[in-house]
Amino acid sequence: MGGNFFTNYVEISAVVLFCIGFSTLLFHQNLLKKIIGFNIMDTAIYLFLAAKGYIADSDPAIIVDGILDAGRYVNPLPGALVLTGIVVSVSVTAFSLALVLRLYEKYGTMHMDEILYLSREDR
């Protein structure tokens, strides 16, 4: 373990969230729960990026009174990156939910193994 385990508590919470999402993705057979886990993972990444851009005791990156001193504001770049991430995550979630809905309409279940068996019986 490195020395900054207790000072980096925001990053630690991001990692904890990420692992919750990752294990949900791996251990659950329900496709809806997999999507939820995926979304939790996304959120963890945003938290991590936002934490990387934070500077203690500084203002948001909105210029006040024409002061252009870079040390006064937080890093504006993670905000721009997170925005991209959120949009892509929303799109992917909507698309995968639509796919799951169609699977449910066809097979009457969201359980992955059952869908696999039923789709094999179709052939």
């Binding site: 020395g3 385990f5 210029i63 870079a70 925005l83 992917v92 909507a94 639509a98």
Partner: protein, 260 residues
């Protein structure tokens, strides 16, 4: 229906057990690796962290002068990285197109579902309808405010569009689909989204005609802090906001009843 044989069952059960063990191992490895990495990262919130390098300094010191936007993040996403944002709006449009492709139903079915949703939608609820009547204009107005002030204060096209989309959903829930269709039907939806995307593409393609590195806006930047400043950022914010509001409502409508 073909029954699975005893042998196949055994294989599947063995695979399940193996999968659980491997998944647990992968998870544990991932967790320990991530914790190790995070505990070795530089201290949270320090100004000297490597993420706060000369790129950010450049954006913060020259951003106002070059883009005219007081909100530096808006300047980054809609001026320096405007093509990236165009890609994002296209991704949203593609998502709604894909959902449309998967879930679109015939007009007859939509009408049946519209009648059916009345039973569980709170349209007949007096408290909900009264509150929604007061709230919907406020939410829509707030969304417009966020979009129009995107270059001056926190917010912008994406957040304001999301607020407006939720306002539209609230209107739809409280007033019914038939009334929403008077101003937001399929035709209007397609035209607004396509028009906004086309305007964005047209507005930003001047970089192609004037040489790829040309970042100066053809529109004067105006005084920083006033509403008409920042060159193309305000119109681009409006275009993005329209796309986001429409796609947000569109995705909801497609999931709720299979059509706008």
């Amino acid at each position: 229906m073909r029954r699975l044989s005893e042998n196949e069952f055994r294989i599947i059960r063995r695979f399940r057990r193996l999968y659980a063990v491997v998944a647990a191992l992968v998870c544990l490895m991932m967790i320990s690796l991530l914790f190790l990495t995070v505990s070795n990262l530089p201290i949270f919130g320090e100004e000297s962290n490597p993420a706060n390098n000369e790129v950010v300094e450049r954006y913060l010191e020259k951003g106002l002068e070059e883009t005219g936007a007081v909100n530096i993040t808006a300047g980054i996403i809609l001026d320096y990285r405007a093509f990236d944002t165009f890609g994002e709006s296209t991704v949203l449009f593609l998502a709604v197109a894909a959902v449309w492709m998967l879930l679109k139903k015939e007009e007859k079915e939509i009408r049946v579902l519209m009648e059916e949703t009345l039973t569980y939608a709170p349209k007949e609820d007096v408290i909900f309808r009264t509150v929604a009547r007061f709230l919907t204009p406020c939410i829509l107005l707030f969304g417009i405010y966020i979009i129009l002030n995107g270059h001056l204060s926190p917010g912008g096209g994406f957040s304001g569009g999301a607020v407006m989309g939720s306002g539209l959903i609230l209107y739809n829930l409280s007033n019914g689909t038939a009334r929403t269709r008077r101003f937001l039907n399929e035709k209007v939806f397609t035209r607004v989204v396509m028009g906004a995307l086309f305007f964005y593409a047209l507005a930003k393609s001047y970089s192609f005609f004037t040489g790829g590195n040309h970042l100066e806006s053809l529109i004067p930047l105006g005084t920083p802090g006033s509403i008409f400043s920042g060159g193309l950022i305000l119109p681009l914010n409006i275009a993005v906001g329209l796309v986001v509001a429409c796609t947000g409502y569109g995705i909801y409508a497609l999931f709720a009843r299979g059509g706008l």
